[in-house]
């Protein structure tokens, strides 16, 4: 029996089983499930925020007025700009231009990093003034919504970095393109969520 190759070993070693060249379909429809589920939960959180707000309008307005609208606006511009660069990266990848793809991904990462810096400044200021998630219901939503969004942002930054790295080693219009497109869709979701979070937290009730 020693000279016989086991069927299981052969199966695990065979390229016939799973490796079908060129068969890997686009990842885009798949990640839409992730995005839709995520947006749905955020949507529920937004509804929860508005319901609570209706019951405590004065408190929510008073708390909202302590937020720095300029920082929120700056973060909106940062994310929208970073999103534009990702669109340009996807276009470059579709055309097979690897250097341009990497450059746009890098630009998106660098601009996007400004969002993280801003948020950390904002969180630091709030915590230094003794404002936390437990201060009141408005700040519970503030820290949860922006905190969960911040985790999404960090994940997006990691995705951009990985794509930038992989784009130097693989053809950008090959199988990697599906991942670049999926990463772009994810990054737009991060934009989209912020575009709702910003007016809801910073502008409703602003003085």
């Amino acid at each position: 029996m020693n000279d016989l190759v086991s069927i299981e070993s052969a199966a695990r070693g065979s390229r016939d089983v799973a490796d079908v060249p060129g068969a890997s379909p686009s990842r885009v429809p798949g990640i839409l499930t992730f995005i839709l589920a995520d947006v749905l939960v955020f949507g529920l959180l937004f509804v929860g925020f508005m319901v609570e707000r209706l019951e405590q309008v004065a408190l929510f307005n008073r708390s909202s007025a302590t937020l720095d609208v300029r920082l929120g606006l700056l973060n909106t511009l940062i994310l929208v700009t970073s999103g534009l660069f990702v669109v340009l990266a996807v276009h470059a990848a579709r055309a097979g231009r690897a250097v341009a793809t990497r450059n746009w991904l890098l630009a998106s990462f660098i601009v996007g990093a400004g969002f993280g810096v801003n948020k950390l400044i904002e969180y630091g200021d709030k915590l230094a003034h003794g404002v936390s998630m437990l201060t009141n219901d408005f700040f519970m939503f503030y820290f949860v919504l922006t905190g969960v969004h911040f985790l999404h942002f960090l994940a997006g930054m990691v995705v951009l970095a990985v794509l930038w790295f992989k784009a130097s080693r693989e053809a950008v219009d090959g199988p990697l393109f599906g991942w670049i497109e999926s990463g772009g869709l994810y990054w737009h979701m991060v934009d989209l969520l912020w575009i709702v979070i910003f007016p809801m937290l910073y502008l409703l009730g602003a003085q």
Partner: protein, 255 residues
């Protein structure tokens, strides 16, 4: 490993193990949820006296429910193994990190399921002899354990998704959407991190997000994964049968 093992022998028990998933789900909802009064949970903002009153009134249902939850909770283990076996065939040339992580994470998920039931069972065992505060502590501890040990369940959920996304078949064993759902569902449990900070509202143990949404997401994950495991098994039987047919003449020639 037996090269002469027939397909019938190789795939024996796969379906039985996969079927333990829905059995677990149905029994867990009935025992842990309905009999154990955990759907929905007793609110965290109840007083100790209110909670004691509940246990002193419903102790027999809770005892039966928790005994059932501890019995059927272990079915998560064979169900997990059926997923592992399918995952091992997703990309046979890759390493088995994802399938192994899935197996360990899914298997260890039994621990919070069963251990948290012990706390509720303890509360229901001598509810008249224990003080309200002690009963409250036991009930809280059960919920803190089952909710806060979510990460051990996140690991297999993410592993299934990552492993499945690497499937090179034109029609993957786990569809892309199911893989992304699994990853998202596992990560969505991060909301449970907020549970210890609140006794009311959406993040409390009885809150609409941390209870209703998160548990429904988990239950749906079990249904989706089971469905695709059952769909994968006959496909793998065909793939292996084809390999057996290819290998047999080669072995005969070599002999």
């Amino acid at each position: 490993m037996n090269p002469a093992m027939s397909n019938a022998a190789y795939f024996k028990y796969w379906r039985a193990c996969a079927a333990t998933g829905p059995v677990f789900l149905a029994a867990f909802i009935l025992c842990w949820g309905v009999l154990g009064y955990n759907i929905p949970p007793i609110p965290a903002d109840f007083t100790a006296d209110q909670l004691a009153e509940h246990f002193r009134t419903h102790y027999n249902e809770v005892r039966a429910g928790m005994a059932g939850a501890m019995l059927f909770g272990v079915l998560y283990l064979p169900w997990t193994l059926s997923i592992t076996k399918v995952m091992e065939w997703i990309n046979p040339n890759d390493n088995n990190m994802m399938s192994t992580l899935q197996m360990w994470g899914g298997g260890l998920t039994v621990v919070p399921l069963v251990t948290s039931s012990v706390f509720w069972l303890t509360a229901a065992y001598r509810p008249d002899a224990l003080s309200p505060v002690t009963l409250q502590m036991l009930y809280d501890q059960g919920w803190l354990l089952i909710d806060m040990f979510y990460a051990i369940t996140t690991i297999p959920m993410v592993a299934i998704g990552v492993g499945g996304l690497n499937d090179q078949r034109s029609r993957p064993l786990f569809p892309r959407w199911a893989c992304w759902y699994s990853i998202w569902a596992g990560l969505s449990f991060l909301f449970e991190l907020l549970m210890p900070f609140f006794k009311s509202g959406l993040f409390a143990r009885q809150g609409w997000l941390n209870f209703w949404v998160e548990f429904l997401v988990w239950f749906l994950y079990i249904v989706v994964v089971t469905w695709y495991v059952f769909k994968a098994i006959p496909r793998l039987e065909q793939e292996r049968a084809a390999l057996l047919t290819q290998e047999r003449p080669a072995r005969l020639a070599a002999a």
